[in-house]
Symmetry: C2
Subunit: 164 residues, 2 copies
DNA sequence: GGCAGTTGCTTCGAGTTCGAAGCAACTCGC
DNA sequence: GCGAGTTGCTTCGAACTCGAAGCAACTGCC
């Protein structure tokens, strides 16, 4: 039987709650803007942004799903929508016959360019405005190791498929 | 005409991306634990936690919705589920006939107590572990003003009028 | 008082999300 | 090579989510 974990002290609670709250509010605001400006959901925007940033403008499905923290089936659905809208293309991977490579189209890049200024403005206005540049830097420096830790820590869900 | 917003510099981008990523990963991990340990979704847990913290163990629906950043209709649905599970009670508000007061039940408090230790453990393990206590304090101090700023900033309709 | 506008909650429909199951392609050991 | 196990993606069903529309109770202004 594991030790009962000690309760969180006020600083820890404060950091945790503030993090969740800030992320929720920010996501909400961004979602609204993306919907208005370019009829994109947040996931769709994240996917396009990742593809737009990639050297060849493409990624495998699984890498995309992991990158944006999304289920595989959910990604299949969203990739289908984006493809139907002409913003991405899907093609079987060259080296692995069962992999699918998703590539952003010119229309996808245009859409990205269309929503980006407003997106930046929202992030600036909601998240960055109350912070000095040094504080922003400090925030990034605090969160980056946490992200790396989370990415490398065995999340219970990453347990390989099922044990017989 | 407003200036085109300047692009985000690497620190700003880093803070923004890391924030979203950390929140997504953390939420995912927590969701899993809550599902396993007590068959609760994250929203349901947040609702119970807020009610458990409240002086009288109760809140109005709208305050709950705003508190956890959730749509009203979604809250109606979730409150219905929690009520059906016997974890909360709903009753018309005394002072405002159209308001509904949601109150946590003993069963609700028990469920909360049941999942809480595991919850804390996940938060500790995923979020807090890679940070010193001073860093946790710094993180809370950085995020709190941002949250307050977001809460007090006109959430929508800040968009300039568009053509009909 | 009364009536226009607001607020608090629910209903409804459409769209989305996820996990489990399923299929095809790859890998490894022998 | 051959089979067992793994991996990449999709399909399927059920559950969740949201905004718009709707209804009842409150408010303000005259």
């Amino acid at each position: 039987m594991p030790d009962a974990p000690p309760a969180l002290d006020p600083d820890e609670l404060g950091a945790y709650f503030a993090l969740i709250e800030v992320a929720s509010l920010l996501r909400h605001a961004v979602e609204q803007q993306l919907r208005d400006a370019g009829d994109l959901s947040y996931v769709q925007f994240q996917l396009l942004a990742r593809l737009g940033d990639a050297p060849a403008g493409s990624h495998r499905m699984t890498d995309l799903a992991d990158g944006v923290v999304y289920s595989r089936s959910g990604l299949t659905y969203q990739a289908g929508l984006l493809e139907k809208a002409g913003l991405v293309m899907r093609a079987p991977s060259a080296d692995d016959e069962r992999g699918i490579t998703v590539t952003i189209t010119d229309a996808g890049r245009e859409r990205l360019a269309k929503v980006f200024p407003g997106h930046i403005e929202v992030v600036r206005h909601m998240l960055l405005e109350p912070l000095s540049h040094d504080q922003v830097k400090a925030l990034a420096a605090l969160l980056a190791p946490v992200r790396d830790h989370m990415r490398s820590t065995p999340p219970r869900s990453a347990a390989p498929r099922r044990r017989p």
